[in-house]
Every structure is written in structure tokens, then in C-alpha cells.
Symmetry: C2
Subunit: 434 residues, 2 copies
């Protein structure tokens, strides 16, 4: 389509939502996408840019002048604008900022740049509607109209005192239904949830979803209202958090996508595979230690090692996943000991059911009841230990302030492989009396 039918293209794109155009742009080559962005006016392109994939955005912005970038930023809310500025090469940031005509907007963006990406400060936007407590409803409505110009969606109206300290909130609905002469002081709701600028994004997400909030005000260390966070940004936080945990469980670090380059994907995957390799070598060394068994005619024991390792891994992943999820959703109660006892009962129950089946199979296959018994008893022990490790490790990591999500996946499967095989041979030897 991009063979320069500008008028047609412009007309076509007018019909599309910016999120759709961003998706289309991602399908195009970089040059085509840049061309498309230059073609449309900045009111639309700014939203498209904010919506699109980081890598693509970066390469498009490279082809725009500082003035053009400033034009885009001018159209965006401060939070999205600050996100884009933080990705720009350091040497042009200064220039871009100075090209922004609306000095207030530029100042707000610069303010936001100093907050860490993963905190409330990094998520918030400067756009909000605030009123002073000693205004009356009429002044309030007038002021609000002016302020609302810059705010895409008014959620709550925040009430502040003369020092800009957050006092409470006011709903649009209340404002609609009170007389114009009433003082704000007398109608506002003093109970208002808020977060401070340094709160972790995950915490903000928990608070907002727990209390079903659609926007939350952000205050600085001394209680002054500095911004607000809206639920749509929180939806992104929740998604990213979930994606990260899912990838960690699968043994992938960093935030990679299927369409990233092979080098990026390797960097995210290889370290975990390497961990698995070390684990496998560990298992080999352990098995070599039991090699004498081979000579004694019990070679068959070695043929069950993949089964034992797989079961230890599976049980470990299951129990750690439940704990990691419980920690993430804040709904774990009771002590570590209680959890461990519960997991032990659960693992014993599951282990016995599975071991009965294995006993039957080995017995029928080999006609050696004692061997079947030895393998089955080992299996139960392995499952119990694997369950306990899977429960303990994430709880321990969490207590130490480490993200427990790394405990599910290669980390737990590898350690459980090793422990599993060790326990297996040790118990089998004991039962068989060799």
C-alpha cells in the first residue's frame, strides 16, 4: 500500500484507532513505518508511538528531528511522554525537551524522569484535576473545566489544602448533585486511598485491584499531591508481572518475545539450560558413585532414573508454583511449618497412589517383587522430599527478599533431579540389602 498514495492513506488511517495503526506499523518495515508516522499528524501519531513496540519506536524516533519528537511529546500525557523521553539517547534529550513549546508540560516530563520505572512515581501522570478545599462548588466547576482540558479522563477530583497537601476527594457525581454555593470543605470525602511516589508498582497494582480503584493519587514524602495513576497503566503492570513469572517458571530470563532476535532469545534461555546441564552432570556423578550396583546385577535400577528425576521435578514444580502464586496474591496464611506439614501429607498421598501403580508395573514386568517394592518405596520418599523442597525454597527466597518466582522452573527441577536420584539409590540399596 505504501507506494506514496498519500491522500488515500491518510484518509484510510483516519478511520483506524491508534492502537490498530500501531499494530499495522509493526508489520511494516522500519522505513515504511517511519514514512507512515511522518505522513499523519502528530495528534494521532503520538498515540501510535506510545502504543507501539519499544524497538520499532526507537528506530522511528531516530529518523525524526528533535523538533518533530517534541511535537509528538506535546500531544501525549506526561506519563507516556516521560516513558518515551527515557528511551531517547542521552545527547538529544536536552534538545528535545527545550523544543517543547508548553513549558509547563516540559517541566512535568522532566519531573517524572527522576522516578524509577518500577515505582508509583514512574507510573503516574501529572495530569489530574485538583481543587482547593476553601473553594466553593462554582469556582470549582470553573477551574475544573480549565484543568479538564488537559486530562483525558477525569476520575476523581482531588482536594488539596493551600500547601498542595492531599486532603480528600470529590466525585463528579457529587458535584453534579450539590448546590453551587456549597464550600468544597463541606462536601469532600476525607477518606482517600493514595500511594507515595516510592511505592513499588506491584504494590500499587495490588492496592488498586483490591479496592477496585480506577485511579489513585500519588503523594510525595511530605504528603503533597504530585500525580495520579490510572487503572489502564495498572493493567499493563499486571500483565507484565504475570508474563515475567510465567517466563521465569519456564526458565527464561528477561522480558523476551517470540519475535526477538535469536541472540536475545539465546541470552534469555542459555543460562537456565546451562544450569540444567550442570544438574545432569551432577546426577551422572552421583550415579557413578552407585556403579557397583551395576556389577551386582541390579542394572535395571538405572533404567528408572529418568522416571525418578521426572517425578521429582514435576512434584517440585507443582508445589513451588502454588506457593509462588499464593505469595503473589498475598493469600498465604499460617506458618512455614504448617505449609510443610500439609505438603508432606499431600505428597505422601500422591506418592502412595503413584507408587502402587509403579509397584504393579515393575512386579509384572520383572517378576521380582522385592525389586518392585524397593523402587516404589523410593518413589514415595523422592516425591515427599521433592514436595518439601518445592514448598520451602520459594518461602525461603521470599523471606530473604528475593523474587520467589525464580524457584519454579529449572532451579527447582535441577535440584530435585539431583536429590531425587540420590535418595532413590540410597533407599533402593537399603531395601534390597546391597
Amino acid at each position: 500500500i505504501a507506494d506514496k498514495k498519500n491522500a488515500d492513506l491518510r484518509l484510510m488511517m483516519k478511520e483506524f484507532h491508534y492502537a490498530d495503526i500501531a499494530e499495522i506499523a509493526e508489520e511494516l518495515t522500519k522505513d515504511e513505518a517511519t514514512y507512515l508516522i511522518k505522513l499523519l499528524d502528530s495528534e494521532k501519531t503520538s498515540d501510535i508511538l506510545a502504543e507501539m513496540d519499544e524497538d520499532l519506536r526507537e528506530s522511528i524516533l531516530k529518523n525524526l528531528s528533535a523538533k518533530e519528537i517534541a511535537g509528538e511529546l506535546e500531544e501525549l500525557d506526561t506519563d507516556d511522554a516521560a516513558d518515551i523521553v527515557s528511551e531517547l539517547p542521552k545527547d538529544i534529550v536536552q534538545e528535545v525537551i527545550s523544543e517543547i513549546e508548553d513549558k509547563e508540560h516540559a517541566k512535568d516530563i522532566v519531573d517524572l524522569l527522576r522516578y524509577d520505572e518500577d515505582t508509583a512515581g514512574g507510573l503516574m501522570a501529572k495530569e489530574l484535576v485538583k481543587v482547593k478545599e476553601n473553594w466553593n462548588v462554582l469556582t470549582c466547576v470553573k477551574e475544573m473545566r480549565a484543568q479538564a482540558e488537559n486530562v483525558t479522563r477525569v476520575h476523581s477530583i482531588y482536594v488539596v489544602d493551600d500547601e498542595d497537601k492531599l486532603k480528600g476527594r470529590l466525585s463528579l457525581k457529587d458535584l453534579l448533585t450539590t448546590s453551587t454555593k456549597t464550600h468544597i470543605k463541606d462536601v469532600y470525602i476525607s477518606k482517600v486511598d493514595y500511594v507515595t511516589v516510592n511505592e513499588k508498582s506491584e504494590e500499587v497494582a495490588k492496592i488498586m485491584s483490591k479496592y477496585d480503584l480506577e485511579a489513585i493519587p500519588v503523594v510525595d514524602e511530605i504528603g503533597r499531591l504530585v500525580g495520579r495513576i490510572t487503572i489502564d497503566d495498572i493493567v499493563d503492570v499486571i500483565r507484565e508481572e504475570a508474563d515475567k513469572d510465567y517466563q521465569l517458571a519456564a526458565g527464561i530470563t528477561q522480558d523476551v518475545e517470540a519475535d526477538d532476535s535469536i541472540i536475545e532469545l539465546t541470552r534469555a534461555r542459555l543460562p537456565w539450560l546451562f544450569l540444567g546441564l550442570i544438574g545432569g552432570i551432577g546426577a551422572f556423578i552421583i550415579m557413578e558413585g552407585f556403579e557397583k550396583i551395576l556389577a551386582q546385577g541390579y542394572a535395571i535400577l538405572f533404567l528408572f532414573t529418568p522416571l525418578i528425576a521426572a517425578m521429582a521435578g514435576n512434584v517440585g514444580v507443582q508445589s513451588s508454583a502454588i506457593i509462588v502464586q499464593g505469595l503473589a496474591n498475598d493469600d498465604l496464611k499460617g506458618s512455614i511449618n504448617k505449609r510443610l506439614v500439609k505438603e508432606m501429607l499431600l505428597a505422601t498421598l500422591n506418592g502412595i497412589v503413584l507408587a502402587m501403580f509403579l509397584l504393579l508395573f515393575v512386579w509384572l514386568w520383572t517378576k521380582e517383587p522385592q525389586l518392585a517394592l524397593a523402587i516404589s518405596i523410593s518413589l514415595v520418599a523422592v516425591i515427599i522430599v521433592a514436595g518439601l523442597i518445592g514448598t520451602f525454597v520459594p518461602l525461603f527466597l521470599d523471606k530473604r527478599g528475593i523474587d520467589p518466582a525464580i524457584a519454579t522452573g529449572p532451579f527447582i527441577t535441577t535440584s530435585n533431579d539431583i536429590f531425587g536420584i540420590l535418595i532413590y539409590f540410597w533407599i533402593a540399596k537399603l531395601v534390597l540389602g546391597i
Copy 2:
């Protein structure tokens, strides 16, 4: 605290948010929780009930009369009320509904009951603010005040024609800034995103988060406005979806939590463990087929089977996780063949790096270069095949309309264990010429 100091308790609870009380109630015994609910007034308890864990809610409701339950439902939005009604035992539903005094509210709840939980109809609430296109702004504001009484948060005002068909929307902001005599026809925005009642919840979530919507109107098959879905319900859908995928990847079916009973947890975990057991038995049978190698002095090959199985499993989980996530986020482009070629390159690269390391280790340990070479070449082959299976299976399941999330986890590790061991022995035999 629950030793009957009613007045104190009531005062204390007044200070708390309902979400906090719900959390407190979950820590209490069932009797205490019921007692607490009976103590407080239904305006607050209804929200507490809506917020709390399903199991606890069920047992509390058992101790309430139909009239009391109806009182709670009366205070709730239709969507939350319908959720609670759908959990009640069938024989008392009729009675509870007939006890609801507000007949309109009761009708709305009954309407909502007929939609599937996982569709837009199951998520939506009947509460919304709608205006007719031929009203003027003044009538509109008057009508809205009345309607807004029942609506906790007004997001958009929906514009309908005389047949109740959705025509467009109006923002509160616009209403604030236009003259009172203007006709709605002339100011409303005709472009409005909507979903139909039968749309899947996941789809609704995708649409709302893609377009950053905070509420979306729901229309029936012929375009009549029947409800609206707000973003806070979508946040729950996203969380549940992520939790489900995470659990499936860890080999846990059904939506279980760490605090569920051992029986429930076993039911969710045992089937997947059983699958792993079958896989292990499969691996045993394959290895027995290669038993002749044992006699020929190559017993050492068997000591590497856990390593081979672990690597095959890890690679399979990694590649399937990336595909599953790409499918969930709708950002996979290009054909299956292209994906498979990419994964093959990636697996080859990772495989060679890992195999070099293994080669060195085995060589130094056994002083048998040919054996080391055989094992390393097998490892590369195993990793490539595991990567391809991990990529292909979720894409295949998705094409067939099956949730690809089941492909990550025990399903892929088990099949990769078997294929991995088979390929390993086969190639090792070939290279060693036995």
C-alpha cells in the same frame, strides 16, 4: 475479639474498607465469620460477601435465611448479585429472588443468570447510564441524576435510539462543557467500541486493554444495549487467566489455591503426575530395548539419561512457553514453518554451546574422546528435536482450538523425555558403531 462486644466490634468495623473486612473474615472460623456478617448492616456486608473467597461465602450464606440473602443482593450491583445467586443451591434460588423487594433489580439479576460465566454477558452489570438521542442536555442531566443513583461509577453515558439500540456515547466532560439546550443527537460521539453478549471474556479483556477502555457497553444479538463491563472486572479476568496458564504450565489443573484442601489439591495435581509416571515407564521400556549396550561395556551411556531427559524437558518448556505467551498476547506473526526454522537455529546454537561443554567434561572424566563425541552429538540432536516439539505442539493445539497453555509443562516434558532418550541412544549407537 469475637466474644460478643457487639458495639465495639461494629464501631471498629466501620473504619475498615470492605475488602479488608473480607480478608479478616477469611482468617476467622466459619461461625465467627457468619456472626460478623450478621452483626453489620447489609450495605457493608453485601460488599464484603462479594469480595470474599467462594468457599467461605457459600458456608456463610447457608446460615442466612432467604430474606437475609435477598437483603444482601439488594445492595449489590447486578453483576456481583448474579454471581452470588449462581452459587446458591438451586432449591432456594427461587425463594431468594422472590424476596428481593426491588422487582426491577430482581429481574436484572435473573436476566444475567442465563449468560455463561466466561462471556461478556457473564461479566456485565445492568447498571449504566443511558440517554435517548433525541433528548436535550437538560433532560439528559435530570435523567442522569436519577439513573446515577444506582450506578457506583459513571464512566460513559451511552446514547441509544428509541428501540434501545446503541448509537454512541457521551462523556461527562462533554456534558459539563455544552449548553443545556443542545440536543444529544448533535453532540454525541458515534464511534463507540462495544462487545456482544456472547464474546469470550478473554476477548473482552484484550479489547479493553488494547484500546485502554475503562468501561465497554455490551449489546445483544440485534444491537440493543443490555449492560456494560467495567475495567475492575477485567482486571480479575486477566489475573485469573494468568494464574490458570501459570498453573497449567506447572502441571496443575483447575483453579486451586494453596489453602484448598488436600483432596482438592490432589485432584488438581495427581493426573499430571500420573502422566509423568507413564512417561517414565515409557523411558524405561525404551532403555530396556537398548539393554544390549549394557553388556557391550557402554553402561556409562545410561548414566547420562537423566541429563538428556532434563535438557529435552527444559528446552521444550522454554520454546513452548514463548509460543504460548505470544499466542495469548496476539503478537505472533508469520507462518508455522518460519517459527520452526527460527527455533531450529536457536536450538542448534544453544545445543552446540552446551554440547561443547559436555564434550569437554566427558572427555576429561572418561578419557574416551569417541564416547564424549557420541554423547555430545546426541545432545545437540535432542535439543533441536525438543525445541521443535515445543514450538510445534502449542501452535498445533491452537490451530485445533485447544488451549495451547496445556502444552507447557508435564505434557511437553513427558513427551520430550521419551523422544529425547530414544534419539540419544539411537545416535550414540550410530556414532559409536555398536
